[in-house]
Point group: C2
Chain length 332, copies 2
């Protein structure tokens, strides 16, 4: 008989996470009570912010050793104890790293079919996509011909920021961590240029690609890349601080850029948390599903089969060895 496979955090990671920081257990599948649904997980999203939760430093709360690993997943309803859901419905929820979750219906959202593969609801049609959409359009307010720089440009958030900025007629430069990622950004998406920060001099390349400075910097990483980008802001530029990839693995908090750069550019710097922008979700899904069908937006998924492989895939993600949105395929 099938059981509920769960992956727990075993130890508080030191530095980069490794497979031995996690533990797989099997439990009996439980029946939903009133107001709950029993599900089988199909796709699980792995995201860098989970490393911040392990550190106890993420806005959405901490994960402690012994806890089920957290994460957003797409599931199919198998048993419903609520009239609003029926067997076969597809839902999205923060059900974590488990194969057969029981979910409170208030924590589940039904997926409305837009004719796009459902795994994208974890990526460009999901939380990372909404992050990019709201962060760019609401916080950075791009205008035609703005010069937009975005870090982690092959990732789910970064690639969406860049492509939406292109749809809004901006000039877009990405930053990514390998030639393979940069090639995908420039060859497959509409983004104009991409800097390989591991091989190229970022300052020189920004000067070359953005000779009049940066109007919008969308930061997914923090640390050195943020500092270097801030030194080249144009007047009245806008900076969206969205991710901290460069420090999720670290126990300490690296410093930020000197305030002089912000003063000099009269920049406006805003902190971005996607949960504040749920009110944009409907417009977001409508716009993005249309843009995908029009082939104006491309996406890259890095899919690993099997929940048991989630720890390995997560440690690869935190080392930057993924290319595109990291997803675990649990069932069909």
């Amino acid at each position: 008989m099938t059981s509920n496979t769960k992956i727990l955090l075993k130890t508080k990671c030191e530095g980069l996470p490794k497979e031995s920081d996690f533990e797989k257990i099997e439990e009996e599948i439980i029946e939903p009570k009133e107001g709950q649904i029993g599900c089988e997980s199909l796709y699980l999203s792995l995201d860098p912010y989970l490393r911040g939760k392990i550190n106890g430093r993420h806005i959405s709360g901490a994960i402690f050793p012994g806890d089920l690993m957290a994460g957003e997943a797409i599931s199919r309803v198998t048993t419903s104890a609520d009239p609003a859901f029926k067997k076969g419905d597809l839902i999205i929820s923060h059900s974590g790293w488990q194969s057969h979750p029981v979910i409170n219906i208030n924590d589940a959202s039904k997926i409305i079919d837009h004719g796009i593969p459902i795994s994208t609801y974890l990526g460009i049609l999901g939380m990372p996509g909404l992050t990019a959409y709201a962060g760019l359009l609401r916080l950075a307010e791009p205008e035609e011909n703005d010069v937009v720089l975005v870090s982690a440009a092959s990732g789910a958030v970064g690639s969406m920021v860049g492509q939406i900025a292109k749809i809004k007629n901006c000039h877009v430069v990405g930053i990514a961590g390998s030639d393979e990622k940069c090639s995908w950004v420039t060859d497959t998406t509409s983004i104009d240029e991409c800097i390989n920060y591991k091989k190229e001099n970022i300052t020189e390349k920004i000067k070359e690609y953005c000779p009049k400075g940066i109007d919008i910097y969308f930061d997914n990483v923090g640390a050195e890349i943020l500092q270097v980008a801030m030194e080249q802001l144009a007047m009245n530029s806008r900076v969206v601080l969205c991710g901290l990839m460069a420090q999720y693995n670290s126990d300490s908090m690296p410093a930020g850029p000197n305030p002089a750069w912000i003063i000099k550019a009269r920049a406006i710097v805003k902190g971005m948390v996607v949960y504040d922008h749920e009110d944009m979700r409907e417009n977001f899904v409508d716009d993005v599903s249309k843009w995908i069908k029009e082939e104006r937006i491309h996406y890259l998924e890095d899919i690993t089969e099997g929940l048991a492989n989630a720890p390995l895939a997560f440690s690869k993600l935190m080392r930057g060895f993924n290319t595109g949105k990291t997803i675990i395929k649990i069932n069909d």
Copy 2:
């Protein structure tokens, strides 16, 4: 016969400025040509940003060894070669550290008498005052009951920020560098509390005075105080970056706060340069002169007599040994 006394920068200061970094010379007084006015300087303003100019790091340009020291001054017209100005007019201009400047009329603004001592046109009715007025009201947008924290709270900018915030019904906490300064802030002005950052634990004191966090932080200093303040921002707070007192004396640029604090608070951080807000000057002078007459705004001047003493007064200012707006009285 009287001569034009000028004080030049002699050497690029290393660290804190000292008297020997400057040189006094005497020159013949020259006659104004068409479109110019001959003046005698009455009051000269000494400001921390001048140290940034010596470093070549200020937005308004650099001062090099051999150059006349820059600075804003109030002067009386002695000889006019332009019909718009007559002998006896009082003007304000960036005429620098000299006793008898010749000024292009486009660089001079006439002072309109509001019945307030004219030295205040270098302080709370001048550039520092407009900085506070525009920075607080336009950039930080205070609302009633907002908790406002301001550094360098006994200085010209800081004390105005705090007092204007009180007029707008905010709760205001200042930070200053001596018991004497803190006493003036809490006893003479309307500001509620003041932290002596040299003696008290800033983090603990902010927690005590701002238990729900900071809604507006107006930063005049950068470095550690900025970092500590950012850690205690309330949700949707606003930070105005206005001054860099803590780094003007330094050849290197200290780091800024970690971006996580900005993200966590969904803060909006803005760079402030007063030159962008000239359009507010008329409202500013009307409001502030009224508030001074109503005794809702108090000010503190640190006046030294004699242009020859400007280097000493400047080195005191850059060590924080001034109390209030530093002004050199050159003539009556």
